[in-house]
């Protein structure tokens, strides 16, 4: 794959993870499940610039259990009075087999009312390499205060090269305090569930 194509793919394509880095000293525990994998991911952020973590994965497609040591770095952030925009680099490596790894990009832009995000992950493993990408947009039907239950109505479109084709479906996200839950469903990819606890 040429450099231009790598650049192109990194900037046009899309991974899941709302806020892949916490505030300085913060920890995050995430559970995620879709038609490809179930995963449990813990990360710690020494600063707001990066996080390190470990992810335990059950890959349903390859019927394989493994783990990643993960590193996420905030490449760029733009704060305005009403918005925040982020661009992250993500990577992971299987400590048992270094040839199994991934790199990716994640971007989001958010106000208290609107959200747009994208992610891309290029995965190498010993069975078959693949890519995973998504784009997501959404809005908050009401604006809650700090500490209230917040609700987001979203639309997500994702594509995994193992499965081919795009899948677009509605997603609902709720969060309150340190806890977030997000789920979506369509008849092709079935349930996407993402639970996050930050502490």
């Amino acid at each position: 794959m040429g450099i231009f194509k790598i650049f192109l793919v990194l900037f046009i394509s899309f991974s899941l993870e709302a806020r892949p880095i916490s505030y300085s000293g913060g920890s995050t525990l995430m559970a995620f499940s879709d038609n490809i994998k179930d995963s449990l991911y813990y990360h710690y952020s020494p600063t707001y610039k990066y996080s390190i973590g470990i992810e335990a994965i059950n890959n349903k497609y390859f019927e394989k259990d493994f783990s990643y040591l993960r590193f996420t770095y905030l490449l760029n952030r733009k704060n305005t009075d009403i918005s925040q925009r982020n661009l992250y680099f993500q990577s992971g490596i299987n400590p048992d087999q270094f040839s199994e790894n991934f790199i990716g990009m994640h971007g989001d832009w958010e106000t208290r009312r609107w959200f747009a995000g994208f992610g891309y992950k290029s995965v190498q493993n010993n069975i078959k390499d693949y890519s995973d990408q998504y784009i997501q947009v959404g809005f908050a039907p009401y604006l809650g205060e700090y500490g209230d239950l917040h609700t987001w109505v979203m639309l997500k479109s994702k594509k995994n090269s193992l499965l081919g084709g795009n899948s677009t479906y509605p997603v609902l996200k709720f969060f309150k305090g340190n806890f977030l839950i997000e789920f979506g469903y369509n008849d092709k990819t079935e349930w996407d569930t993402h639970i996050m606890y930050r502490f």
Partner: protein, 133 residues
């Protein structure tokens, strides 16, 4: 490939659009023509009154913060400041982009220190006004 090209074109637009917010913004129906400065700190009176309840012999730093868009941002800021034993109370007003910090009266309030703490959390403090109560 057509789809990839289209997305490639849209990705920069996504970030440019996000950057274009500076200079003009609105919160729930009222429009600001300029960024909030130290002489124009907007605080919800009801919220401020509630914040002051139970406080005495204190000084309140009202800090304008950029990039505070969700509870996770607010939680991080709150956790950062409550570690300071001279902080009596803190409140984060997401709708106004304000952080209210009540300090003990004899504590010297340094905006640079506050800015550094906010930056550590990933946001930017742009202005501060200290009110004695």
């Amino acid at each position: 490939m057509k789809r990839e090209l289209l997305l490639f074109c849209l990705a920069p637009a996504f970030f440019l659009a996000a950057s274009a917010d500076d200079g003009m913004h609105n919160h729930d129906g009222h429009l600001h023509q300029k960024l909030v400065d130290g002489e124009n700190l907007e605080v919800d009176p009801e919220r401020y009154k509630k914040f002051l309840s139970g406080l005495s012999d204190s000084q309140v730093a009202v800090v304008s913060v950029k990039g505070m868009v969700c509870d996770f941002c607010a939680r991080g800021i709150e956790k950062t400041f409550v570690k300071d034993k001279t902080v009596k109370k803190i409140d984060v007003d997401l709708s106004q982009g304000k952080v209210l910090i009540a300090y003990e009266m004899d504590r010297k309030i340094d905006f640079e220190e506050i800015k550094a703490k906010i930056v550590m959390n990933g946001q930017n403090a742009t202005a501060m006004k200290v009110l004695k109560i």
